[in-house]
């Protein structure tokens, strides 16, 4: 057990998959930042937007200049991740701003935000700018190897999210197709009970499959295709919501980590 843990903590992986993942995460953070700024503004200026402040002691981020500062800082840190300039600091700033927005209003609580915070934490602990970054451009050195455990944790995190998400759907409202009927914009033929129940059971099956198959070299190509199909289809059928797009982008970013298995 201890040996396996030491091996996990000391093994190294190629740097390029994590660099691509970092770029994907930074891009996803940019999109999320735009939505956050818009929502912060609407919560203060649109009477139709329902505020949900949980903590009275928390900052309000009500003034336009406060929202602008928040947005600029968020965007700068997201850009830092994308170009790989002070990536650890950028991830830390984004993580702190994410925590802040959770304190400001419950409207900002969402599963994709939690997932983003976990990714920021793990990318912040890794050497994600070893390649495809400003530092790499200055040093102009060829491919590198980086500590592998944060990469491994990112992959495990995705599998756990798939597993627990599938397990949570093992209930009557979901398996009967009711949730899909409520949430998805489906053509009439797909609203047939047999088809909708098949879709519901299929969605749960795909999530369980992805939780494990991504780790298997033989099943991985099929898993990647299934995952791309699943996460590509969700925004199409549910609507192009920023949260769904951001989550899909983060998931695709982690898929890249499965593409290169080499360790040393």
């Amino acid at each position: 057990m201890t040996r396996a843990l030491v091996r996990l903590l000391t093994h190294e992986r190629p740097a390029w998959p994590l660099a691509v993942c970092r770029i994907g995460l930074g891009t996803a953070a940019m999109i999320r930042g735009l939505k956050t700024v818009r929502d912060l503004y609407l919560l203060q200026h649109d009477p139709a937007a329902v505020p949900a402040r949980l903590f009275e002691w928390a900052p309000r981020l009500a003034a336009t200049w406060e929202i602008a500062c928040f947005g600029l800082l968020w965007m700068a840190a997201s850009l830092g991740l994308v170009v790989g300039y002070r990536a650890r600091l950028s991830a830390g700033v984004l993580l702190a701003l994410s925590i802040l927005q959770h304190l400001v209003d419950q409207n900002f609580w969402a599963h994709h935000m939690y997932f983003m915070m976990l990714m920021l934490l793990l990318v912040g602990l890794s050497d994600s700018e070893a390649t495809l970054s400003v530092r790499w451009g200055r040093e102009s050195s060829p491919g590198r190897w980086i500590p592998g455990w944060p990469v491994w944790l990112l992959k495990v995190q995705l599998s756990l999210a798939y597993f627990y998400s599938a397990a949570a759907k093992l209930n009557e409202p979901f398996l009967s197709g009711q949730v899909l009927l409520d949430r998805l914009a489906l053509p009439d033929f797909a609203r047939d009970p047999v088809i909708i129940q098949t879709l519901a059971v299929g969605a749960v099956g795909v999530e369980f499959f992805l939780a494990f198959a991504l780790w298997n070299r033989r099943l991985r190509p099929l898993a990647l295709v299934a995952g791309l199909f699943l996460h590509g289809l969700i925004p199409v059928t549910m609507g192009l919501y920023a949260g769904l797009i951001v989550f899909s982008m983060m998931v695709f970013s982690i898929y890249v980590l499965f593409l290169d298995d080499r360790t040393r």
Binding site: L5, A49, L153
Partner: protein, 115 residues
């Protein structure tokens, strides 16, 4: 890798994995536990509809607040809707007497009086 760094990394990995494996599993035994879990679109909690009843006897449907283009809107799926939406509707629409929170599939209604 130095011994201190190895110890710090190991502690983090074990603590992280323990939380991420154990905490979401707790929700199997404690329904309603949603934070820090992966229940998105799992159908474990129904999204309610809101109806506003006015002093003149009329009723206005405020709809499902998570839907895009709804006349009144929430931006996040995790908002405690029973707590935050009724006071907002009471203040938003003049003459509102009470707000009915309707859970269609569960067949449950909650009535909240306006102040």
């Amino acid at each position: 890798m130095s011994r201190a760094r190895l110890l710090a990394s190991g502690t983090f990995v074990v603590a992280y994995l323990t939380f991420q494996i154990v905490y979401p599993a707790l929700s199997w035994f404690r329904p309603g536990l949603d934070r820090f879990t992966w229940h998105m679109y799992a159908g474990q909690e129904e999204t309610p509809r809101f109806l506003v009843h006015f002093a003149d006897g009329s009723t206005r449907d405020a709809g499902v607040l998570l839907r895009r283009n709804n006349p009144v809107r929430l931006f996040g799926p995790s908002v405690d809707q029973e707590r935050f939406v009724p006071p907002h509707l009471c203040g938003l629409w003049t003459g509102a007497r009470e707000v009915q929170v309707r859970y269609v599939h569960a067949g449950r209604d909650v009535i909240i009086k306006c102040p």
